[in-house]
Symmetry: C2
Subunit: 157 residues, 2 copies
DNA sequence: GATATTAGTTAGCAAGGCTAACTAACTCAA
DNA sequence: TTGAGTTAGTTAGCCTTGCTAACTAATATC
């Protein structure tokens, strides 16, 4: 790779990084209106794929088991999740989203996506093609297809 | 707008949202290696534009004054920032990044951008054109040009 | 059946949000 | 010019959400 090409790559990566940060900061503005904390919304999004064990949830959320244990207890108290014993293994706890939890997640996600859709309102067909191509590329590069939604926890980037 | 077009917009916004989340989650992995907390890195990035008052910093970081006051005190203790009195107004504190702080920020940012650049390594010229177009569009839509860098604080999205 | 492993919980600490209440400094009008 | 109001920042104290260490209970293994 020539130095010039490398510099171009760096600049593109930098701009992509910055754009992603600011895009999410914008999208996140509506989160408090869901009435559920960001960490809980994020965990709920994982549960949309079906019930999960505490360990699976912790792994998906990239937190340690005690953190998820406490978070799920709070979610239970808030009425957005249920804890059920695993019939086959007495150690395992299966966590389910409640209808209330699903509604909160749907609301939060809809508000975030609506904020982004609003940003995209002015895109012409060419912009749209470029965005679709770019998003598709990023999805492939990250090795993700139907990527789950995650809410912000405390992250500012 | 036809229902179909609207659904397409929604889907694109949703995918863009998800891609941004996962892109940043990937980029953030290297942050701990800077030896400076994410919140401090983010504040340092604001200081790259020159000294700021505590209030300006708090506004830029979207936190309250006491939060920034404490954060800057920790940054001072860590040697990445200085607090200087404002000669014209005795109430005002001017915060400067130190050389150590600038180095930490540069290191963190370089690692993040390198992670993204690594993801982009396989992009062909067409992908690159689409990415540049898409990033340019997002930058314009967000009304930002030379966007400052912000580190994650605790946000998971 | 004894031992090791695994899933989850509890306890306690740190970072980083917040509000309330305070001090010090500045502004302005009587 | 001085007294009231405003503004910048700090302190104190709370909450959430990370963490590790140490524990219990259940399962697996030899």
């Amino acid at each position: 790779m020539t130095p010039a090409a490398r510099r171009t790559d760096w600049e593109l990566a930098d701009r992509l990084h910055s754009a992603a940060i600011h895009l999410l900061r914008r999208a996140r503005r509506t989160d408090p209106r869901t009435g559920v904390s960001a960490a809980q919304l994020s965990a709920l999004s994982v549960l949309m794929g079906g019930p999960k064990t505490l360990g699976d949830l912790a792994a998906a959320e990239q937190v340690r088991a005690p953190t998820m244990s406490r978070l799920v207890s709070e979610m239970k108290r808030a009425g957005v999740a249920r804890k059920l014993p695993d019939p086959a293994d007495g150690r395992v706890v299966r966590v389910h989203a409640t209808a209330k939890g699903r509604r909160a997640l749907a609301r939060g996600r809809a508000m975030r996506v609506e904020a982004i859709r609003h940003l995209l309102a002015r895109c012409d067909p060419e912009d749209q093609r470029a965005l679709e191509h770019a998003v598709g590329f990023i999805e492939r590069a990250l090795g993700q297809r139907a990527a789950p939604w995650r809410s912000a926890t405390s992250d500012r980037s």
